[in-house]
Symmetry: C2
Subunit: 206 residues, 2 copies
DNA sequence: CCGTCATATGACTTAATAGTCATATGACGG
DNA sequence: CCGTCATATGACTATTAAGTCATATGACGG
């Protein structure tokens, strides 16, 4: 967690620092990010940085927290009437929300993805804590509920499929960031639908 | 490409260097890898390294070449009677070969995956060249052939599905490296079959 | 036995990094 | 107007990195 001084800062300055950090981590990932470049771009002194943060990891965790909060905002609306939807509707909504997040926040999305996909498993666990296992469990729960409701073929392996769905949700936002030039939502939602079409046929009960 | 001197080296020394480099890149990825550690572990002088290689990237490309050659060996046997197999058989064989490669060569697999998943797209293109697009085209070709043969539902989007299959093949070898303790082939092939089950239902013609 | 030439060496240079610290500033209460 | 205290600063340290280079070695042909 950042030190108290960081939160005492005038909003403008705090945001300048946050922006510079997001730029840096999005471009260079955690390892490659340079504190010196961040303070230069934020126009603060090196020493000031260490008045606000313990160290590089402290800053990074803070940025990851911001990402988590923002992503949650995209999901909460959806979580309210989650019970009403069948699995495939809910799943489509989840993907759509994830895609919208990636579209609106490409830098944040990039930081998150490169953390998850990165080689440094230790860093990931330290920074994300239980978020990944939890989200996997959540999807698995969705699948099991779908099976109980008779929407999903009971012979699937819920663990494997949950893993596949997580991986594909990451790759879809990556695909978006890499390929799409952010012109319109339509194209990317079509893309998601095409993926979901395959998944749906793959796991639905007949 | 390494300099001539590298290939003039006695086999034992050349292998010592190669091994040290593989260890290093597997543990730290390209960015984090240290030439100093490599030369220390290989027991050669820093200066000698630069008699053999232009620079760090030159070494890395060489290691990637080795990976490519080795992976090709796992695939060639299979490529011979590729025409005889239907799509799902061929696909299963491909996954199985990929898994076997990852099992036999976890360090090489790790290097390859972290390159592909890494943030540095420029590096990837420079080092892998056309390998990724080509492999994507190859899978797409398989899919289109499957459609012509009436094995695969014609309404799928071959581009998207090819992309999904590539992503999943990477995540399966990652899953293997992370989760499995390399005890037996069986478990991981079962895992692959469970994935393929979903994909097969997802895209086969009814 | 000598001279040559490919190879081997590690101290060195340059540049970048994260993090520190003595000092300066400036706002605000008394 | 002064003293205090949180904050601001950038030169500095210490470490590590990639890459260089003058010099040493040693094998081999004449």
């Amino acid at each position: 967690m950042p030190k108290g001084t960081f939160f005492n800062l005038p909003d403008e300055k705090r945001e300048r620092i946050t922006e510079a950090a997001i730029d840096e981590f999005a471009e260079y990932s955690y390892e490659g990010a340079s504190i010196t470049r961040i303070v230069d771009n934020a126009n603060i002194a090196k020493g000031s940085f260490y008045q606000y943060f313990e160290d590089k990891k402290d800053l990074f965790k803070h940025i990851i927290d911001i990402i988590g909060e923002k992503k949650l905002m995209y999901m909460t609306r959806l979580l309210k009437d989650f019970e009403k939807l069948d699995f495939f509707q809910a799943f489509r909504e989840m993907y759509a929300a994830g895609i919208k997040f990636a579209k609106d926040n490409p830098r944040l999305s990039k930081i998150g993805n490169s953390l998850i996909k990165g080689a440094d498993v230790k860093l990931m666990q330290e920074v994300l804590g239980e978020a990944i296992p939890k989200s996997n469990e959540f999807i698995k729960g969705m699948l099991l509920r779908g099976i109980q409701r008779g929407e999903i073929a009971p012979e699937i392996d819920a663990d494997i499929v949950a893993y596949m769905l997580t991986e594909l949700s990451i790759s879809i936002s990556e695909y978006f960031i890499k390929e799409m030039k952010a012109e319109d939502d339509m194209e990317i939602l079509e893309l998601a639908d095409k993926m979901i079409f395959v998944i749906e046929n793959g796991i639905k009960k007949r």
